[in-house]
Amino acid sequence: MSDAIVVRDLVKTFGGGRTLFGGRTHELHAVKGVSFELKQNETLAIVGESGSGKSTIARMLVGLETPSSGEMIIDGQDAKELRAQGSAVFGRVVQYVFQDPVASLNPRKTIDNILDVPLRLLCGYDAGKRAARKKELLDAVQMPSDTLERYPHEFSGGQAQRIAIARALAAEARIMVLDEPVSALDVSVQAQVLLLLDDLKRAFDLSYLFISHDLAVVESVSDRVAVMYLGEMVELDTAQTLFRTPSHDYTRELIASAPRLESAAAE
């Protein structure tokens, strides 16, 4: 079985273009030569602080940004070729879940409308099939069927994230890039969404690239963990090894900084 995603020497530089007067604009190296692979049915987590380049990797993988150099092979196909075939083809291979669920849903569209788009444009289903699929999707994310007529602002953050996940599922892509999917949620809602993601992974045979800054969350969901620091991947190992015996200084600092409940109880 081939890997879901293979990334080789991925580089992304922002700016650096020519200005009107021939000078060069400020260059920002967001991602500096990163390589990793996501295996089938695996959850690979990328952790790192803000500005470490983890979201940039995610956005490149789903085609929202174009890499400056390097190679991305997604589900056995080269990303360049996928992009050339248009967003509809790309969307069927890999899907993306945003950090802020409310911002990722258009405030002036009903949920019916929002879920309809990927079913129509990516899967090409007729109206009857679409209606049936929408019901299935809402069932899968455990939302009531009257959800369809309502607008995004009528839902809480957790419910909106379920809807956003349903939209990503609608494309029937087997690879999901989850960009801080639970960071904006309350703890009890966060636990529920993590459970849901876990169930969906098994039910639909998915592979997850899970991006987060919360080490405890990452440990609870991932098989392997990669640590990003200033645009570079400093460590990549199985979750168990990485948390038990971190080898890089920065990883050690991250683990030491995470607040714990036990610390108070032990004092």
């Binding site: 602080e49 803000s50 569209k109 440990e219 609870s220 714990r260």
Partner: protein
Amino acid sequence: MSQIAASSPATEPSARLSSWSLLLNNRLATGGLIVLGIIALLAILAPLLPLDNPNATAPADRLQPPFSEGHLLGTDQLGRDILSRLIWGSQVSIAVGLSATAIAALAGSLIGLIAGFARGRTDNILMRLIDMLMAFPYILLALAIVAVLGPGLLNALYAIAIVNIPFFARNVRGVTIGLASREFVDAARLSGKSWLAILFTEVLPNVLPVIVITMSTTVGWMILETAGLSFLGLGAQPPQSDLGSMLGEGRSLLFNAPHVSIIPGLMIFALVMSINLLGDGVRDVLDPRLRAGDLTRPRAVTRIERKTKPKSTIDTDAILDVRGLETSFQRGRSAFPAVKSVSFSVKKGECLGLIGESGSGKSVTALSLLGLVASPPGVITEGAAYIEGEDVLSKSETGIRALRGAKVAYVFQDPLTTLHPLYKVGDQIAEAILAHQPVSKDEAKKRAVDLMEQVGIRDAAERVDAFPHQMSGGQRQRIGIAMALANDPDIIIADEPTTALDVTVQAKILDLLQDLRTKRGLALLLITHDFGVVAQVCDKVAVMKDGEIVEAGVTEAVLRDPQHAYTQKLKACVPELGQGKAFLDGVRPLFAEAAQ
């Protein structure tokens, strides 16, 4: 508070004022609506009304004064009935104004949408063209266009539409740029929508209110411009009646027969004025911020309307003692409590953690203590907050303001939004000192450097001249803490001080707070949603849910053996390092029960 709004999406719609009643609440807009309605009705009914032919001349009856027989408003220099010409003329003016607005809105919005969404070179070229249109005085440009096209009502209409395109284009472009970088646009792209489909089905619906608002405020202006061109003889051509040309024709008779020009002049005034008043009303209704009913500026101190009056002083050993606090929010005509009978106390040198999920009322509680809840819609309806035994809420407005920043200081979640972006951080700390202490500016600046050193900013003497955007998130939060310490407060209220920060930075900021607390004997009220933070910093903890404290006690005891079901659930939902995948298996039964 946005948290409160999010927590209760199910309030009855009747409590919220409808668009109509909001519009009718605005007396000026209602007046405009009535006047405009009458004029529009007359103009529409013009063919049915028993009016003389507006173009029939009768030289024998020329320049009859108003109220003469058969001619209610008199006749003009060719003996035509002014009333008839006025009503037909209004019809023409309104029609031209509306069509010009429609054309300008369509073309301008299209340019704005494309420029704002495409950015880059397209944006540059389109907007520079718009700039060129704007570089000419509008009436000169309109004259030039009419001069090229030739005089006539239709050409005047085109000229006015073209002149007004920049107004729409620039407004719409500004809104579109903001929307284009929003996540739902990215999401639509990933759903397979094409560039054009995203522009017209995702972005346009969100821009539409802006277009409507701009239209409602420009129709009057366009009618005025049409009248202006007709006045100069470039719009409506004789014998067609139009308000502007009537005015122009009557100009030479201003002394002999003033009514010939004054009557159309008044009509233009009434028409434009009513449209503008109504347009302002429509804008207010469509603006979501105004819709919520907060039409007024928030007051300096939250409105306090306590049902029972508590004692103004009590004996207490706690430096901060809150008893039975209740704060409500007014929405439309009804009010609902966000915080209900909340009581807690903090001693000197102690740290109390107020923990809860969004919408639990923890921030409102903290803001209520010094009357900082925005009012309207906030009202403190019950309870007291004693600082050193004295009730804050019984004090006068100046009394409460004197406490702020001096005895009690706040540290907020995101220092980037609370620090002023255009002032140097040192000056901002100095300003906080000067607000409460009579010291010289140099002295204040020196103390600012001291404070920055105390909160652990390296090279404080140099960094004092930095601007907020030149600092990292952690450093900015240190500045926020330095400002809070400026006047040697006894109590610090920190509202999610580390939520916006990375974990490694969070650990350092929490250490700093701990350090300051022990050194200075500060009482710290820490508001957070993170059990880990509470465990690390707080002596006592109070758990809030739906505006009430459900459990309170010593941190260690509450965390080790939570009594209330909600606390137990909350604690179970926090993943811990070292738990690994066992965490998910642990919480699964919790929600499986809830689902059944």
